[in-house]
Symmetry: C2
Subunit: 277 residues, 2 copies
């Protein structure tokens, strides 16, 4: 693990690291915010933030304005990259496939399967690395935006004992039925759509009987809302399975980080209810 | 004036515009944050934010996390670009001269003098445009970072009746005596250093008898501190003239927007004391 940068912010530290990932078989970068409360004698809980298409570890850290409240509550934030990257890593010229668009799945198809193992990376390898090397506890929650909201919901619903709570901004709620998801899943998982279901939050939510607390915010001026995001499908799935979720339509807001910065404090306070011992 | 974008944030609006500048003789872009309190019947005061080298109207708006407090207090924020831009505008291949590096002066030397009239643009043209087209009052303050901290101090100290207060992060405090300033002033103003003095905050502060309230924050881990920024010169000038300034050295902080986001709330609350009627 090699430190790329370290910057003081809100009395805590923002740090970037690269490390050699065994699951993704390449160097991966991530960023961490450590609140001032964090120390070896006071291990703090962690919110893992999963970003959307085209993002790196930097977008959320620079634009979300999350550190003020994270520093107040004593929550660490970990922001991984959205895919493996590098010259030797498969890529596609479009923004919604390949590097920057890992979709938080374990790819099974060539040329993606060698490196694009983001589901395992986020679920297993990264938390183990974080808990071994930083003053954090094993209490953790998931949050994300768009493709990362999909990732947070899918990983949280599939690993319920591991996460205290899940939140999402503008998640891709039913990827098996939208253009972004169909394109990515066809490439990464192949044409057999039954293989896609385990990565569809609406499918998972329709077929579970309990779930961690879930908070979702969605702007009603989001240009991706109807074609790509489909939160109504997620709400229907929750109703079908009898699981309670909080889905809030936020009038006038779009898909940008300006939307995220407006509500990130509420998401952190939501997670804090469940993260504190 | 043409709108480039409009985004809801913290119940207010972030907007970007381009307009044809008579002073800079080219199209100029700026961004404005309008808090939810702003209306034709409730004109709000304005903080003008002047950015540093290489920045556009976007850096502060995306990275400073300022809107939460601006929305709470009912303050509009206007962020101009840092120079004229365009294919027909003079430029230099270095990051600290030409486009993105206007230094808030009126250039007198070719090839810069045709477009690089940033002092007049910020001091006269832009506020007139803003006050004619937005629900704002004529009460205004200046804030800025690095080159923009220099701009805020120089413009505020030279136009005291126009501004209620001045604040700066990591300002270039004595540009006539640092490499960035010497390079820019030589290019824009010529070799006669007596022409430079009116754009040097330490010179202005040493020779005034009163000044608007001034707040400055400076990180002591800022890599530009000793060679380029020289806040101690500004403090000496204030002591010499008997003007009170608040200069705070912030331990551990660097030159980045992570530093700005940590203290921007305090700067907005500082300005608010003087902006409210």
């Amino acid at each position: 693990m090699e430190m790329v940068s370290e910057t003081k912010v809100w009395d805590g530290l923002h740090q970037q690291f690269t490390h050699s990932s065994s699951r993704c078989q390449c160097d991966m970068r991530f960023a961490v915010f450590l609140p001032p409360q964090a120390s070896q004698n006071n291990r703090v809980p962690v919110v893992y933030w999963l970003s959307g298409l085209t993002c790196t570890d930097e977008n959320f850290m620079q634009k979300a304005g999350a550190f003020r409240t994270a520093a107040e509550l004593g929550i660490a934030i970990v922001a991984p990259d959205t895919s493996p990257r590098g010259e030797s890593v498969a890529d596609d010229e479009s923004y919604d496939l390949g590097q920057g668009a890992g979709f938080y799945v374990n790819a099974t198809q060539a040329p993606w399967s060698q490196h694009f193992q983001m589901y395992d990376y986020i679920t297993h390898e990264l938390p183990a690395l974080i808990e071994a090397n930083f003053p954090v506890s094993n209490r953790k929650s998931l949050a994300g935006h768009s493709m990362g909201g999909h990732g947070a919901l899918v990983i949280g619903l599939s690993n319920m004992s591991q996460y205290q709570s899940i939140s999402a901004f503008s998640p891709i709620s039913n990827p098996t039925q939208c253009p972004w998801g169909k394109k990515a899943f066809t490439a990464y998982l192949g044409a057999n759509q039954s293989e896609w279901q385990e990565y569809d939050a609406s499918h998972l939510l329709a077929n579970c009987h309990l779930a961690p607390p879930i908070l979702i915010d969605q702007g009603d001026r989001d240009t991706f809302l109807k074609e790509q995001l489909k939160p109504e499908t997620l709400q229907s799935a929750a109703t079908k399975s009898g699981v309670n979720i909080t889905l809030r339509m936020q009038p006038g807001y779009d898909h940008s980080y300006y939307f995220i910065q407006t509500f990130i404090d509420e998401h952190l306070r939501f997670h804090y209810q469940y993260l504190r011992q």
